[in-house]
Subunit: 228 residues, 2 copies
Amino acid sequence: MKALVLFSGGLDSTTALAMAIDKYGVDNVVALSVSYGQKHNKEIEASNKVAKYYGVEHIYLDLAKIFEYSDCSLLKKNNKDIPLGDYSKQLEELDGDTLSTYVPFRNGLFLSSAASIALSKGCDIIYYGAHSDDVKEAYPDCSKEFTEAINRAIYLGSGNKVRVEGPFVNMHKADIVKYGLEHSVPYELTWSCYEGNEKACGKCGTCIDRLKAFKANGVKDPIEYEVE
Amino acid sequence: MKALVLFSGGLDSTTALAMAIDKYGVDNVVALSVSYGQKHNKEIEASNKVAKYYGVEHIYLDLAKIFEYSDCSLLKKNNKDIPLGDYSKQLEELDGDTLSTYVPFRNGLFLSSAASIALSKGCDIIYYGAHSDDVKEAYPDCSKEFTEAINRAIYLGSGNKVRVEGPFVNMHKADIVKYGLEHSVPYELTWSCYEGNEKACGKCGTCIDRLKAFKANGVKDPIEYEVE
């Protein structure tokens, strides 16, 4: 068995990479990082460091052109403010729409790219870091239903050769960190913050979630934050 | 309603484009052409001519990098012979594998790219030229089951905003040509042949299928062939 891991350099996908390496062995794992025109290169830099740490094969794709027409606030070209604060609070103000940080069908696109590459590289399985705290009202391509649907599409469309597995899809972010801490995942090398400053902002939705997940495990997040 | 049409410049997708324009009006249609590193630019040239003919908005993407590791015979980088003859004969010799002309998960990748762009451009529907003559044993990402599965994934992952429709999925290629002839589709501008010579080869699987579809309608294919 050989696995391809969709790997952003963030907390969830780094833990998924660690899990795949643990299960299949480092020579049977390929990590795939995709740029989508985000505001900064901190995630890509983090993905390079983590891949080097594990000595795993690492493929990089730039798909920014596909998001050329999107008004998503995470995209560099849009020069928009990224909303701050807890996701649940952001959602209250939404009125049924997706968040401005929803990158249109990003996970579907990334998983499909991963399927094409998995077939070429002889991988049977795609690992993907979605988890149950992802708010599907805001990020519909993070839901369990979506993961099941794209898994079926990839399985059928690959001639029954490739499956998608979201090993954390029923887990909370705190459980992911728990697994990672038990398996010595190098969280000090990862990057989650939506902003691209020297230190993580500590105020955006993803920073808040990350900080909470470490706190739930009684452990200090090893990366530096602008706020305490 | 606004439609995005996955549009290669071939016979099927040009007819799908004509159908979308007929149904939604030319100002509510976006055509998307994707390069995947194929041996020649004849399809892309054809897509430009057809888009210009209809005066429809036309977006072009180059996704060749994703197929960098594939050994598919349609890719320029591989410099492999493309198998000749009828698909059914090619399949007999296959022994359960996909054809060498299967581009790994190409349709899934293209439809996912289309979903990202459709969301950005406010399109509700993606048109896609798959039909019932597509041999799913060789091209699993052309089957009806796959179209249904990717439709569900795109619908869920887009927050119930975008659907995939394969208007020809229950039709034969001859029926597509029938519809196109009735709607004056400019087939003289299209390109289907896997080879990139001045004239279509008339010998590859796709040329043979195309010639048969015109013959079934009692009409001569308006493009030129190397063979009679």
